[in-house]
Subunit: 149 residues, 3 copies
């Protein structure tokens, strides 16, 4: 594989990976906005600044945002690792791009399904669809390095 | 250090790192299976699909699985970073492999101790044993880049 | 850009990144110490070892530590990715160091504000200050790879 091809796969990975990081940041911003609008703060010092200790409380939609964010940590962060290493194993650009694109689209759908509380099993299907390229990359990486273990 | 040796250390790291990512995915799958079996869903839309809103509830074993998963995020994800950078600092393959293997075995034991609720302090000892190679790698990395800060 | 310059930016990034990983580990250690001192354990097996099942309970300060840790996962872990990739895009050392240093200082302040429950909006301002270099790096990375997507 010439270096330029490897760079192309890595750049393609980086493009979708950074978009997904921005997507994660967006969920954090939404959580903060919902906390302000619903007046539901995790810390007493925040509640005090926004009307009083009675707003140091939980809210179901805030908790939903937090679950969406945590699920991103559980899935997008490992992808940042798997995708980078997979890019170094010399896959074809077409196949690699398909992996990254499926993961990207499925995780965007997962966030939408979570935040909009779409009917089950939309969110679970998006979760599973996103796992397919991850497991595929994990297996391909293991095959390419197994001899070194 | 010839490039091939560096590649060998990195490949050894990648092998254990990917196995640990798969271990994390396994905890997610177990959590989902326990939610279905115990009928304890975090989201009303999931509960509705599986019998009704009364199953939108918490379950102690589901919470245990979630704590095991969160502890993995706190420890395995930083390892993915430390191990990759440490591999670039030119350690000997034998010493590097020892770091990765201790972390790998300790984190597998940690998950088993968590999911099987093994008697304390099994889980804490596994946690501490896994931290030793991480702190060792962090110190070695800092020493090799301190002049650039 | 000569390789040595790129190495200097990457080494500078690694220095602050590893310090932040150690900062995250420190929060985990503090959490454990607070659990022991307040006798508030997340798992029955831990409570049994430390006096009895009545200590299987939540504590507000333990929960505060856990929120500080989770916020680190949400922000420091993506930084480990963004900073590494940004280092490869060939930024000037001065500009890059500024990004890393602002993030580092803001996240240290964020942890202090959380653990000491400093008056609002100290913690929110630290959070926002840390996001600025992250969004800046994300945009610069996207601009440098957009043609490959």
């Amino acid at each position: 594989l010439p270096p330029s091809d490897r760079n192309e796969v890595f750049s393609c990975f980086v493009f979708y990976a950074v978009l997904l990081v921005i997507k994660m940041y967006t969920i954090a911003i939404i959580t903060g906005q919902v906390r302000l609008r619903k007046k539901a703060f995790a810390n007493p010092e925040d509640a005090l600044r926004h009307g009083g200790l009675q707003f140091h409380r939980e809210d179901p939609y805030v908790e939903r945002c937090r679950r969406a964010h945590l699920n991103d940590l559980e899935n997008i962060l490992p992808f940042l690792f798997l995708g980078a290493v997979y890019s170094l194993t010399g896959p074809s650009l077409t196949v690699a791009r398909l992996h990254f694109l499926v993961f990207f689209l499925a995780r965007v759908l997962h966030s939408l399904a979570y935040l909009l509380a779409l009917q089950a099993p939309t969110r679970s299907l998006a979760y599973t669809a996103a796992q397919v390229p991850c497991v595929s990359m994990a297996v391909q990486i293991l095959m390419s390095v197994a001899s070194f273990a």
